[in-house]
C-alpha cells in the first residue's frame, strides 16, 4: 500500500567494487567528521558561559516592590493556594503607623518562605497574585544548594533590592 509519494525504493544489490574495498567510503566519512571537527560547536562551557533563555524563562522568585519602594505583597495567600507543590508559606501581619513607606497595603507578609526543593517553577504563583507582587525572574536561576538547611528561601533572598530592580522584557 502506498501512503505517500515520498517512498524511495532502494535496491540493495551486491556491493560494487568501490564499496567492497571500503577505502573510498572511509575517506569520505573521515572528510565529514573533519568538517564537523572545525565547525561551530552547539554546546557551551556552561557555568562560565551562559545562554539567554528567553523572556518567559521561569527562574528565581522575586517579591516586587512598587515605585516608591514599598513591598507589594499583601499576604493574601492566593499564591500559596495556587501552588501545586505547596512550596509557599507565609505569616501575615498588620502594618503599623509609620510603615507606609515599607508596605503598600495595610496587611503584609512578615514572613514569606518558598521551599525551593519543593518548587517546580510552574509559575502559577505569579499568575495567581492579585497584587503583581511575586514574579519568577527570566534571567536568574536559583543558586545550587548543597545542604537541606539552605533550601528554604526567606524574605531576605526574595524581596527585590532597590539598587537592583527586576525588569522583564516588554515592561516599561
Amino acid at each position: 500500500m502506498k501512503l505517500s509519494n515520498k517512498t524511495k525504493v532502494l535496491e540493495q544489490g551486491e556491493m560494487t567494487f568501490a564499496e567492497r574495498i571500503y577505502l573510498p567510503a572511509i575517506v569520505g566519512g573521515m572528510g565529514t567528521t573533519l568538517k564537523h571537527f572545525f565547525s561551530k560547536k552547539v554546546t557551551i562551557r556552561y557555568p562560565e558561559q551562559k545562554r539567554y533563555l528567553g523572556p518567559v524563562f521561569r527562574g528565581h522568585h522575586i517579591l516586587k516592590r512598587d515605585e516608591q519602594g514599598a513591598e507589594r505583597c499583601t499576604a493574601c495567600g492566593l499564591c500559596a493556594v495556587a501552588c501545586p507543590a505547596e512550596a509557599i508559606s507565609m505569616v501575615a501581619d498588620e502594618r503599623k503607623k509609620g510603615e507606609e513607606h515599607l508596605y503598600r497595603e495595610e496587611k503584609y507578609a512578615s514572613v514569606y518562605e518558598i521551599n525551593m526543593l519543593r518548587c517546580i517553577f510552574c509559575g502559577l504563583c505569579e499568575e495567581a497574585c492579585p497584587k503583581q507582587a511575586i514574579y519568577l525572574q527570566h534571567d536568574k536561576m536559583v543558586p545550587v544548594f548543597e545542604d537541606r538547611s539552605e533550601v528554604i528561601f526567606g524574605k531576605d533572598k526574595l524581596v527585590e533590592k532597590m539598587d537592583n530592580r527586576y525588569l522583564r522584557e516588554g515592561w516599561k
Binding site: F17, T33, K41, V42, T43
Partner: protein, 386 residues
Amino acid sequence: MEITSTLFTAKAIYVGVIFAITLGVAAYSTYFERIIAAFMQDRVGPDRAGPFGILQPLADAVKMFMKEDFIPSQSSKWLFIVAPCLSMLTALMTSAVVPFGDKLDLGGDVFLDLQGIDVNIGILWVFGIVSLGVYGILIGGWASNNKYSLLGAIRAASQNISYELAMGLSIIAILMLSGSLSTKTIVETQQNGHWNILYQPLGFVIFIVCAFAECNRTPFDLPECETELIGGYHTEYSSMKLGFYLFSEYINMFISGAVMATLYFGGYDYPGYEFVLDKFGMNIAALLGVGALIGKALIFVFIFMWVRWTLPRFRYDQLMGLGWTGLIPLSMFNVVLTGATMLFTVNGEGSNWMTVLLSWAGVAVMLVVTAFYSQSQYKKKKLATA
C-alpha cells in the same frame, strides 16, 4: 671505564625519558580522545577539571585508584592479577627498538644512540612483543571465569593472529627494500626524503589497517562489546587493573604510530635536516629529529581517533573475511610488486623516481584489473539472477 659509565648514565636517563614520554602521551591521549570525539560531534568535551579540562587524566587516574579493587571469588587469582600487568608490560616493551633519534654527542668521543637497543632483529622484536600482547587479553579473559570475558578474549586472540599474518607480509616488502631487520638501518635507508611510503603505498595501507586491528581500535574493536559481551575481556575487571588495560591500549596506539613512522615515514628524518646540521650542530639536529618522530606518531594517534569517531565497527565474519581473503592476498601481491620494481633498479639503472612511479603504477594497474574483473563477475551474477 669512564666512557662506559657516562654512556650508562646517559642511556638510563634516555630510557627514563622515553618511558615518561610514552606514559605522558598515553595519559593525554585519553583526554584528547574525548576532546576529539566531542569536536567531531559538535560538542566542546570535558572541561571541568582545570582550564579546558586539561587535568582530566589526573581526575580519571584518581577515580580509578579509588574504586574497589575486586577479584571474583571463582577466578584464578594470580593469573587475574598478572594479565593486566602483562598487557602493560608488552605495550611498553615495544618502544625499546624504536629509534627515536640519531646520535647525541656527549663530548669526549661519547655518542649516545637515541634508541633503547639496536638489535639486529629490531622489527622481529616488535612482532614478538606485539604477539605476546594478546596473552594479556587472553589470560585476563580466561582467569575471570566468565563466559563473556572468555568469548571476548577468544575474539581478540583470533583477530590478532589473523591480522599479524598480513602485517608480517606487508613488512617483508620493507625488508626487501632496506635489506635489514634492524629498525635503525630501516630508518637510515630512508634519510633525505626517501621515505618508504613513496615506494610502498599498498604496503602502508595494509600495515595501517592491521595496526588498527592489532590495537583493537574501531572499526576492529570487537574484543570489547557491550551488546554481545557485556563488556568484553575486561568485564570482571575494576579499579587500576581495568585502568591498566585501558591505558595499555593508548600506549599501543602511540607506539604503533611510532613504528609506522619508523617503517614508512622516515623515522626521525625531517625536511631541512642537513641545514640544521650545518647551522646548529649535531645535537640540535638529533633532538629535532626526536621531535619529528614523536610528531609523526602523534599524527597517527590522531588518525586512530579520527577513524574511531567516524566508522562503525565490522561484523565478526566481515573482519575475518577482510583479514584472510583481502589483506593477505594483497600483501602477497605487494611483495611481488616490490620485487618487480626492484628488478628495474637493481643495477642502479632506473632512478629513484622510476621506482616510485613503478610502485604506484603497479597498485593502479592492480586496482583497475580487479575492478574490471569484479564488474564482469557482477554482471554475470546479475544475468544469472535476472
